[in-house]
Symmetry: C3
Subunit: 298 residues, 3 copies
């Protein structure tokens, strides 16, 4: 029984153990048994992928699911504070999977709740289970997570999945990590300070495209820009083009936490480097394995 | 494992087989066993009846259900395209039941998805499972689906259930089909061209009311009219009155896919011809039988 | 198979029986078995606590749950009347748990439906299952429900939980019931006329705070006031203060149906009299026991 708030709540050996369990779920060797358990999906901010994949993971492990998909449908809209809402959910479920727009909200909830809380995205801070899916995909593709060259492209300032990825990489000694973003969306200093591996910041992915093993692309969100023209310009320069991918190593991989809008040219989908749909297919088995680790044997 | 996009995806013998299975579900002789299966209800357009009856059908067969009930709650609202949303859902479920406002969206989804897709209404095109429920009701009431006289009343231009009904009737040689609508809501030429039975179009149901075995009533929607006055006028003339039903044959039947607003006088509910609530009671057993045929034995 | 519309649908001995069953659910001695049953949660008005706690109660008893959480998502938004919506739900579920903004809507639904209807709040009229949870808490705390002194504080005019509480107290001979509210939110005459125990109305809780065994606090809602200033003033005077609670008997109890906004100073949460979170923890076992009584053995 434990909380999952930051990716750093896991030690390296716990990550490896979880990935081995995910292998067994995926191959059918192990079936999580969560009969009699109830999972609450508390999505104060809407999400489809994360909420439905946790739901699918829980249901396929035999657990039941209840919850909500926006704060309009909750007592929050009557003015209730988060602490009271969390105390309520604890009465109804054995585990709370939670997304909230405020940084640190998941940690706050975990302090209130006696039941385990899984952070499914808190503001611009972390989204640890997405990073687990991402790294699991890396491991499946490369057979190792060590010594690889990564590029992160797009919004590195507000993308919580990137924060979780940069942090999990501290366990796996990457050869080099390139951070490719427009100047206004550079990774935050407080994250960069934590990193124990070589990092270079740049603004044009084409400068290093041939070096990459993994290119991790994120969506650039309109609401991060004050100026519509500026947004359009940035969006265009950070759109991944077919011609760019042609220069990638044949066995390199493009990842994306999805949903994507226009940041990856759709013609790339059929190129061998496009691994984001494969990545998405690991969400359910990994989250099943995680729910098992968090809840089984209570 | 198959898709259900148009009613014409079924052969006549498949329809008859499905109806026999529905008989057995209804009588309790057969219980669909979908334990371990997950059904996604992907309602990009809101619906209550269709979504909840599929949910009830799936749950009572032992399957689990996940999904959404409007596209506001989905990544579509973040700009994701339908293909990516469908690819996502495939990872979470064994079958996708889908409603979408665009004509042809269900067919498109079925081309993307490896898992079976069931069309629960695509734009103004088709709603095949509703037509199956309608015809099943006809068979229960008349002992046959052949050689009957049908009238379709109301909006024949935008009502997808009417399209599916007109198409399924090509299997059952109706004696005559009357299409009764205001001029601006006449059935589409491309549907009429497909029909292999006698059809007459008219504007006043009272002209042929005594001839009908089945009167199928549909809702006339305000949004189909540019002019509010015109809508009010049409609505009034296509409202089914008590006096009109008194002229129907005693053993004839009024059907309606529901929900109704004001197009059937509520006093008609207690007349012997009113069969729309009976019709509604067949939705769950028929959809259970259908889910079984689509998913069992995968 | 029965409806639960008003708290007065229960006799005193039925209340006591239900509480004994709840004891057994809570201790794990009895596990409701509702396998194969489907509960519809028909929330025409949003709610989180009531809907999710009924859902948790049903799921943990082995039943399945379907439903909706606002009338926007239903055919009601297409203009369907309540009777037709209820007839629809009956086809999908074995029991309908319903919240609706109209007084008397639950009774109306129960007259339409052959399946049992449980009132989860109808307008400003009743919320019987909340009163059962409240009184169950009283019984757990005091060992008896007889001969106690109660105070009801806040909105006594529109709070349906207070109506249900005042009515259930007619079974338990309270020594005295104080009704403490602003003049514009006094309890309704038609309720007061029904009561068979001593009642005093007043406007300041401090006048009798030391006498109370149970203080039941309710939220004062902005929408009950035409004038914002008036609302702010009233809200302030009916906010329960730390200093006031210090004057309560040590073994007295503060209850609140939750959610609360600002009507209870948060520092009170850690005082011995604060029992509203304990009260909330009884919602699931009591509603499980109730669903069992309503549905088991059909």
């Amino acid at each position: 029984m434990r909380d999952v708030i930051s990716i750093l709540d896991f030690s390296k050996s716990e990550v490896l153990e979880l990935f081995e369990l995910t292998d067994e779920v995926l191959s059918g060797k192990f079936k999580p048994r969560l009969e009699g358990k109830i999972v609450a999906t508390a999505f104060f901010e809407p999400s489809t992928r994360t909420a439905l994949s946790f739901t699918s993971a829980a249901l396929s492990a035999g657990a039941k699911v209840l919850g909500f998909s926006s704060d309009e449908a909750t007592s929050v809209s009557k003015g209730e504070n988060l602490a009271d809402t969390i105390r309520m959910l604890e009465n109804y479920a054995d585990c709370i999977v939670m997304r909230h727009k405020l940084d640190g909200s998941a940690k706050f909830a975990a302090e209130i709740a006696k039941k385990p809380v899984i952070n499914a995205g808190d503001g611009k801070r972390e989204h640890p289970t997405q990073a687990l899916i991402d790294m699991y995909t890396v491991r499946k593709l490369f057979g190792t997570m060590e010594g690889l060259t990564f590029g992160f492209l797009g919004d590195l300032r507000y993308a919580r999945t990137v924060n979780s990825m940069l942090r999990i990489l501290t366990m796996f000694r990457p050869r080099m990590v390139y951070l490719i973003s427009p100047p206004q969306l550079r990774a935050r200093a407080e994250i960069l300070e934590e990193l124990n591996y070589p990092v270079k910041e740049l603004t044009d992915v084409r400068d290093i495209i041939g070096e990459l093993d993994v290119l991790y692309v994120t969506r650039i969100q309109r609401e991060r820009f004050l100026d519509e023209d500026e947004y359009e310009k940035v969006k265009e320069s950070y759109r991944l083009e077919y011609r760019t991918v042609e220069k990638m190593k044949r066995d390199s991989a493009i990842l994306h936490p999805l949903p994507r809008v226009s940041e990856i040219d759709r013609r790339i989908d059929s190129m061998p480097q496009a691994k984001y749909f494969l990545e998405a297919s690991y969400a359910v088995p990994l989250r099943s394995a995680l729910l098992h680790e968090v809840m089984a044997g209570d």
